[in-house]
Amino acid sequence: MENRLKEEAGKLLKEGKVDYIVGYGKGSVKFRTSPLITNKEEELENLVINPFIANNLSRYPIELKARVGIVVKGCDSRSLISLIQDKKVNREDVVILGVPCEGVVDIKKIEKHIGKDIDQIEEIKREGENLTIQANGSNQTLSFKDAIFDKCLGCEYPTPLEYDVLLGTEISPKPDMEKSLMRIKELENMDATDRWSYWREEFSKCIRCYGCKNVCPACFCERCFIDVNIPQWVNTYATWQDNLVFQLIRTLHVAGRCSDCGECERACPVGIPLRSLQRKMVEEVKDLFDYEAGVDKDALPVFTHYEDTDPEEFIK
């Protein structure tokens, strides 16, 4: 797949069909990848595709404001389609290089399972349904399913929904919703007061780095409400109250656009389970309006239109 990508990307640049290629390169931390954005053919050699390509790159076409050849997984394609729906990205300006994806490996999960730090892990190899992990000279095996992100367990669209070139063969989805939504179900079964204390505790950790909003492909406002100072909606310093209100409003802003790519949670340096908020809203939007973000590029975004039959039993 990697060679095919380099070949296709090279062709795109050579023929002048795109100004930039946005893909994955080797990260500065072991195993991890980081975005590789380039307009030079010789740099395409550094493109990689492996089970660690966690980043959602679909945000870059908005920021680059140029024609872009972009590498997307199934979930990223939904973010990109969502941006096309919101007219933030022109379909004609992007050449989509689709990667069918069976799930992205969460290194934190591996660390937890084998009880070793990333620095001690020498190699991670995939063999069928298992991962062989070499750490401190000894081998351990771990089921691939136990090592991928929670969001990947419930993935319904492993093959990109929109692409110009598909680098590989289509994969049929095998979502395990129960496992993927476990944490949300646990929260739903809690008392309302316990839930409030849970979120309060979590948001006490927030340092307001805005990693969640900076990485989110659905957070595309040119001026975020957080930067507005007349009126100042949320204090700029970190108190749990303001942190929580900030995140709740962000959750509402991206509701109906969020495709559960899980980048907010992955970006969070203090480990707040943000996906439990965002994914919950994905479920709610589906339940209320029978709408899924980023599935149909010609569909209207859910909050830009309405139906006469929208639910209103909660309105007294």
Binding site: W196, V245, I249, M281, L288, F303, Y306, D308, D310, I315
Partner: protein
């Protein structure tokens, strides 16, 4: 000093064309509704930003009621239809994070429905009274009890 009895303080975001006029009508018809409500007039229920609701709760009001025209009656044709979609997700999110459902209410009240406005406010304030003062955003360590 004698302890004063706690009274709920609620804020009402009422749309200019229907609910605000409805509240006005209930006043001119001399119907009684509790003084606990502080009414803020807004142009349309579609103007309601979820931030209004959350900031009001964060700043310590005990309840928030949002009221607009019945679907189909919007002065701007579709403001309340759009609002209805927003309110539905706000409602679900507030429930999910654990804000008592009695604290936030959405209603449709027309300009001619003075009695309904009085009744809605009465019932809402009673509901808020039952769940008690809003301590959601209180920080015992910082603010004391």
């Amino acid at each position: 000093m004698e302890e004063t009895k706690w009274e709920p303080k609620v804020v009402g975001f009422l749309c200019h064309w229907c609910s605000y006029a409805g509240a006005d009508l209930s006043g001119s018809a001399r119907l009684e509704y509790p003084h606990n409500i502080r009414i803020i007039r807004i142009p349309c229920s579609g103007r309601v930003d979820p931030m209004f609701i959350l900031r009001a709760l964060q700043n310590g009001v005990d309840g928030v009621i949002v009221s607009g025209c019945h679907p189909g009656d919007c002065h701007y044709q579709s403001g309340n239809f759009h609002a209805r979609r927003k309110f539905a997700v706000i409602r679900r999110l507030l429930d999910y994070v654990g804000i008592e459902p009695e604290r936030v209410q959405f209603s449709w009240v027309a300009a001619s429905e003075g009695p309904k406005m009085a009744q809605v406010i009465n019932e809402f304030v009673e509901g808020v009274r039952k769940v008690g003062p809003n301590r959601l955003f209180k920080d015992e360590r910082r603010d004391g009890e």
